[in-house]
């Protein structure tokens, strides 16, 4: 029942519970449905991007372009729907176009990595610079999105109990998690990702479709990146080419804290979800406690990462 491989995620869960409990004891009003809902609401785009990142890291790769992808898709959708400066497209069509662009870009990265054997680190690094520049060619300044569909989306949600509402942004996060989970656990594609991350050469020798799996998973990662950008534009009500600089590191941190090994082959989406919630809780603590500044936030995040890595090393050496 309790397998050795479940230990990292068990540790992650315990750390999350400890963190949340101690924060609840320290700060009045922390332990509430509202805070829990906000954890999902505030970290929706981190979480969505982390789903794709988990796929990529499970396959033994890495993606540095996700921050730029978020900025690019947020500004693209804003430009597409804007009737004065942009194209004035209907919102749903603009959203679908943005998602298609993201998926296509992810696929191109996959081709560079798989066909031309450019290391993922370099290909996605180039992708990061390219998308950041491209985002600024769409628009130098941020564009406020003033569409009825957008405000409807932002303010709608599912009521929980009598006074709380689960906002649609948080709902998108949960649905993305569920779909990614089904893809990873329930399909051949998902199994192949684990196999490739475990040992690419043996996956190839087993006759698994390594090339197509890799290109598809980078396309999927492009899709989640673009979706995260859309959610970010819903969250802020605007598109901005300068948002989410360095965000990829937060996403990678969330995935690693969640127990997914950067060498590939080991990890789970549950872990990533917990990793996102841990980062969210730490940030929430900093919101509740005005005395702490961003320097301490970074140091805490770094130390937490260190702690997890040391735990993981200790456990995987046995």
């Amino acid at each position: 029942m309790f397998h050795r491989l479940h230990l990292p995620i068990f540790i992650t869960a315990v750390v999350f519970l400890l963190l949340f409990t101690s924060a609840s004891l320290l700060y009045e009003g922390f332990f509430s449905t509202r805070v829990v809902i906000n954890l999902f609401y505030d970290n929706a785009f981190l979480g969505i991007a982390a789903m794709g990142m988990t796929f990529v890291i499970l396959s033994g790769g890495i993606d540095l372009s996700v921050g730029s992808m978020i900025a690019f898709s947020s500004i693209l959708v804003a430009k597409l729907v804007d009737s004065e400066m942009g194209w004035g497209l209907p919102t749903p069509i603009a959203m679908i176009l943005t998602l298609l662009c993201g998926t296509a870009f992810g696929f191109v990265l996959g081709v560079l990595i798989q066909v031309f054997k450019i290391p993922p680190f370099l290909a996605t690094l180039a992708g990061m610079f390219f998308l950041r520049g491209l985002a600024f060619t769409v628009s130098m300044e941020g564009i406020t999105i003033d569409q009825p569909f957008y405000s409807f989306f932002t303010y709608s949600g599912i009521p929980i109990g009598s006074e709380n509402v689960l906002p649609s942004i948080a709902l998108i996060f949960l649905v993305t998690f569920a779909i990614s989970f089904v893809i990873l656990k329930g399909t051949r594609f998902g199994r192949n990702i684990y196999a490739i991350g475990g040992n690419e050469a043996s996956a190839l020798l087993m006759g698994l479709p390594v090339a197509s799996t890799k290109m598809r998973l980078y396309a999927f990662n492009g899709f989640t990146g673009a979706l995260a950008g859309l959610v970010a534009s819903l969250y802020t009500g605007a598109g901005n080419a300068s948002m989410a600089v360095g965000f990829e590191l937060d996403v990678i941190t969330a995935v690693v804290i969640g127990g997914t090994l950067l060498t590939g082959g080991v990890g789970s989406l549950w872990g990533t979800l917990l990793g996102v919630l841990i980062l969210g809780t730490i940030q929430m603590v900093f919101v509740f406690d005005g005395r702490l500044n961003s320097a301490w936030l970074r140091i805490t995040m770094g130390l937490l990462l260190l702690l997890f890595i040391v735990f993981q090393r200790g456990f995987s050496r046995k």
Binding site: L122, L125, A126, M128, T137
Partner: protein, 336 residues
């Protein structure tokens, strides 16, 4: 002559040189006064000098990064180390009134220690280099902000400012420092067996260990040297703008340094390395940045052409593409 050409053609930095020459050629045609140099107050001024001066920081980082990458590692923390050494030296200078000489040395020591920390995590705890240095990248930035109390620290100390902005014998001090670092490290690599040890470690760590090599010491050395050079770059960057900015100094420069190394022809897979290639790679990136600046490309958009250059050079170095092009060419010739 043909022997020299084929030697150059086979060299690792061939494509970086071609890229650099293309850019210089472009500038010769389209940029006014690109090659113009003039002497004012005993110093050389001109766009070319500017490129060397601006590119010196990435060159310094690149030299250390080359060695780290050659051991099959990577160092994402150099930007944060820059911020730490710069901020620490500035705080010691302004608040504790130490002379620059002492403050600078303490900054460099801390940078060295940061490299040692990276090295220890990687060798003794067996953490992957990308994660180990990511940890320091996050923590180091926080520490720098803590040291400087979140403020940008300005100073007027003449020695510190000269360190970043001064000149010596017609050339900026920064260029001399890069030359010194390049010659010293090259000498160390070529004249001692260290270069060989580093290549052996990166090429096949298990084999190197079995051959009796102290692989851990080799890695520690590489990360410490990389930290030291990053510390030096941090002091230079602070002196240049007469201020230490803990949150912005060195931001994203780790990526520029990695690009310089890779474009210069050292593979991320470790093993063989070329310091000269890294210098050429850094020059290529800086020339590109300066060219876009001269041509009036908005600085926000400039990452895009940079990405394309990285991609083209990587593709040219990719064996798969070369083989395909070669096969295509042979087929065409045989059909004629």
């Amino acid at each position: 002559m043909s022997g020299l050409w084929s030697h150059f053609r086979q060299s690792r930095y061939f494509w970086a040189v071609i890229g650099l020459m293309t850019l210089v050629f472009f500038n010769a045609l389209f940029s006014d006064n690109f090659f113009k140099l003039e002497i004012r107050e005993g110093n050389l001024y001109g766009t070319l000098i500017d490129i060397l001066h601006q590119g010196s920081i990435v060159m310094l980082l690149g030299i250390g990064m080359t060695l780290v990458i050659a051991t099959k590692g990577i160092d994402l923390s150099v930007g944060s180390i820059m911020a730490m050494s710069g901020s620490l030296a500035a705080v010691l200078l302004t608040q504790y009134e130490l002379p620059f000489f002492l403050a600078g040395i303490i900054g460099l020591l801390v940078a060295c220690l940061a490299g040692l920390w990276n090295g220890c995590l990687i060798t003794y705890l067996g953490v992957q280099p990308i994660i180990a240095t990511l940890i320091l990248m996050v923590i180091g930035r926080g520490l720098a902000m803590l040291i400087a109390d979140g403020q940008v620290i300005t100073f007027e100390d003449p020695a510190f400012v000269t360190f970043g902005n001064g000149s010596f014998c017609y050339l900026p001090l920064s260029v001399w420092m890069v030359m010194l670092a390049f010659i010293a490290v090259s000498f160390l690599m070529k004249r001692s067996s260290l270069g060989l040890f580093i290549e052996a470690t990166g090429d096949n760590e298990a084999a190197a260990r079995l051959a009796g090599l102290q692989v851990n010491w080799v890695k520690l050395f590489a990360y410490m040297l990389c930290g030291l050079l990053a510390g030096l770059a941090g002091l230079m960057a602070a002196g240049r703008i007469k201020a230490a900015d803990p949150s912005q100094s060195g931001q994203m420069l780790e990526l520029d340094a990695i690009i310089a190394v890779v474009v210069g022809g050292t593979a991320l897979t470790g093993g063989r390395f070329t310091l000269l290639g890294t210098i050429i790679g850094a020059l290529l990136i800086q020339t590109l940045t300066t060219t876009m600046y001269i041509q009036g490309v908005a600085s926000a958009i400039s990452p895009m052409p940079k990405a394309l250059v990285i991609l083209v050079v990587c593709l040219m170095q990719s064996k798969v593409l070369r083989d395909q092009v070669q096969a295509l060419w042979l087929k065409q010739r045989s059909s004629v």
